[in-house]
């Protein structure tokens, strides 16, 4: 039978998913530890053996092998803009949407100290923005000059004021840098344009980064490492919401991915005010938006999760837990491979998952505030209104292994306790039980209709 092999070279595990083309079913999945420090194919081959065992007797011919990767630290990026709330923020959103891990966001004219800092962070790609088209160009040119002078070996994506492009081209050519120029991330004030920059970042990732991370030999066996893993998840989310050419999507949705180190939230929704009389302010939001909370995680970031929330907030979800919250978080951070076994351990993990969901959603969604004016109260909204989103989908270990994923995800819903956060009020709650989202993002590159149908089948009610 003809099948497709989808591979996720994750930071910890290399995960394989085999899809039967004809019946559009998941044939089998398997995983093993990622071995990027020695030879990435060692871990892959082990997982592959397991996969073949799981498939069993059936004869399988893999017609396509597609991969995404977040191994070796993922795609690490630095974003540079002019004003922190405007082009620097737009650049950050473009990089996040491309599936990057943001090491730092810089604004205004850089100084030598900041350049040294950027250098020491060792980014894979630098995204350079600043100025609207026809707007300020002094800042981006200043920053381009500093980069050209001090940083020689990092690919740079230029997505700023188009009027500065000729000059930047000259500066970078003279310095012999590898760079690509694309459309401005903020061509007009408060108007965001992140797709072109995302695409260019992805092409550099395929062209340069995969090789730099010692994964070139994987490409002899597979058809290509197409994108960073988070970009694959965002792609899956987008096609599930919007549908493909032949297959209808399910509508606006939010995906919460609770991991050991970070909690990611993806929303595919316009986010315009859902109530009349609300004025929208600030930088436009991307339709497909990803945020990453590096301080909210179940293991590696358990202590920072504690610091962001505190004992009372965690205990709200586990009032009778026998643990000292701080001590337990420290313990989990030091023992990242712990899998809960007892009732108490389950309860504590679930409480952490709920707090992570609650805070990550608060940071992702827009807020509304009431403004008292001589004409009465009016409302002003910043960010996305997700009150009426139809689906909330959960993925990540704690949810997949939880006995009550719905309970955890409900912590991310709208609450009268903090009514100014525009979180979903009454969505259908689904869980990615088979862990297929990133694989489906890859599949969507070649077989979009099939990817939508499979997701509809396998992402189920909690």
């Amino acid at each position: 039978m003809d099948a497709i092999l989808l591979i996720d070279f994750g930071s910890t595990y290399t995960k394989l998913t085999a899809v039967d083309i004809e019946s559009e079913e998941i044939l089998a999945t398997a995983k093993d530890l990622t071995t990027v420090n020695t030879d990435i194919m060692i871990g892959f081959n082990k997982a592959y053996e397991k996969l073949m065992k799981n498939i069993g007797e059936r004869e399988v011919n893999f017609v396509k092998k597609l991969a995404c990767s977040s191994a070796a630290g993922g795609l690490k990026m630095v974003a540079i803009g002019l004003v922190p709330e405007l082009t620097a923020e737009a650049a950050k959103r473009a990089a996040l949407g491309a599936g990057a891990r943001i090491l730092g966001v810089y604004s205004y004219e850089l100084n030598k100290h900041e350049i040294e800092e950027i250098k020491s962070k060792k980014p894979d790609i630098i995204l350079l923005a600043g100025g609207t088209d026809g707007g300020n160009k002094d800042c981006i040119i200043h920053n381009a000059k500093l980069l050209a002078e001090h940083i020689k070996d990092v690919p740079i994506v230029v997505a700023g004021n188009k009027n500065a492009n000729d000059e930047i081209e000259e500066i970078f050519n003279n310095a012999g840098l590898f760079y690509k120029i694309t459309e401005n991330v903020m061509p007009k004030l408060n108007t965001i344009n992140v797709e072109p920059a995302r695409e260019v970042i992805r092409s550099i990732f395929m062209q340069k980064i995969v090789e730099a991370k010692g994964m070139k030999n994987a490409e002899n066996f597979i058809n290509g490492i197409l994108m960073p893993t988070p970009a694959a998840v965002l792609k899956a989310a987008k096609i599930l919401a919007d549908g493909s050419d032949k297959e209808e999507g399910i509508g606006e949705l939010v995906i919460v991915d609770i991991g050991g180190a970070t909690t990611d939230v993806h929303s595919i929704a316009k986010g315009d005010p859902s109530k009349p009389g609300v004025t929208l302010r600030g930088l436009q939001e991307p339709y497909a938006k990803r945020t990453v909370e590096g301080d909210l995680g179940m293991r590696v970031s358990a202590v920072s999760l504690f610091e962001a929330s505190g004992t009372r907030r965690i205990k709200k979800f586990a009032p009778n837990t026998p643990y000292d919250v701080e001590e337990r978080c420290k313990f989990l951070q030091q023992n990242v491979n712990i899998i809960p076994r007892t009732e108490e351990e389950y309860e504590f993990d679930e409480a952490l998952g709920m707090v992570a969901t609650e805070i990550a959603m608060e940071r992702h969604v827009g807020t509304v505030e009431s403004v008292y004016t001589p004409m009465g109260i009016i409302y002003s909204q910043v960010g996305k209104d997700l009150l009426n989103v139809k689906y909330l989908i959960g993925t990540g270990g704690v949810l997949v292994h939880s006995r009550n994923p719905e309970k955890i995800l409900k912590a991310g819903l709208f609450s009268m306790e903090s009514p100014n956060y525009l979180k979903p009020t009454n969505p259908v709650i689904l869980v990615d039980k088979t862990y297929i989202l990133s694989a489906m993002g890859l599949l969507a590159e070649e077989y979009p209709d099939m990817a939508v149908r499979i997701m509809k089948k396998y992402i189920v009610r909690a």
Partner: protein, 139 residues
């Protein structure tokens, strides 16, 4: 015909009068300005950030609800801090409450560092004429 000058406009403070704001945008565009309209309910920071990114030549602040004096305090100082040293600042609308002598009111706004202030009912054409003069587009 574009005249090559960029102007940031908006309504400052907790003020949501949108109609005049649209008229000003329209009138400025007719005269060839590149207009960056940040709309109603805008704090000082939004005007300034917009002016930085767009390399604006002037900021035109509207206020219709009588609290203009409070909302505009420190505007020039913030512009200076942000590196917009010589940017042209205008303000206009119903800037204060009650029947106050316009000369007095105007002086208060000029002392705050605004280049020009306009009383209620000013024709936008007059302000545009001043603007062109101040930007060196016209004699």
């Amino acid at each position: 015909m574009q005249n090559g000058k960029t102007v940031v406009i908006g309504v400052i403070g907790a003020d949501c009068h949108a109609v005049g704001n649209k008229i000003i945008e329209h009138a400025l565009k007719e005269e060839g300005f590149n207009v960056v309209n940040i709309g109603v309910l805008s704090p000082q920071e939004d005007f300034i950030n917009a002016a930085i990114e767009t390399n604006a030549d002037a900021i035109l602040v509207s206020s219709l609800y009588g609290h203009g004096e409070i909302d505009c305090r420190g505007f020039r100082e913030k512009c200076n801090e942000a590196g917009l040293k010589d940017i042209i600042l205008y303000v206009g609308g119903n800037l204060v409450v009650g029947k106050q002598d316009w000369k007095e009111v105007e002086k208060r706004f000029l002392d705050m560092g605004f280049n020009r202030a306009y009383p209620p009912g000013t024709d936008i054409k007059l302000s545009i004429k001043d603007l062109k003069k101040d930007l060196g587009l016209e004699e």
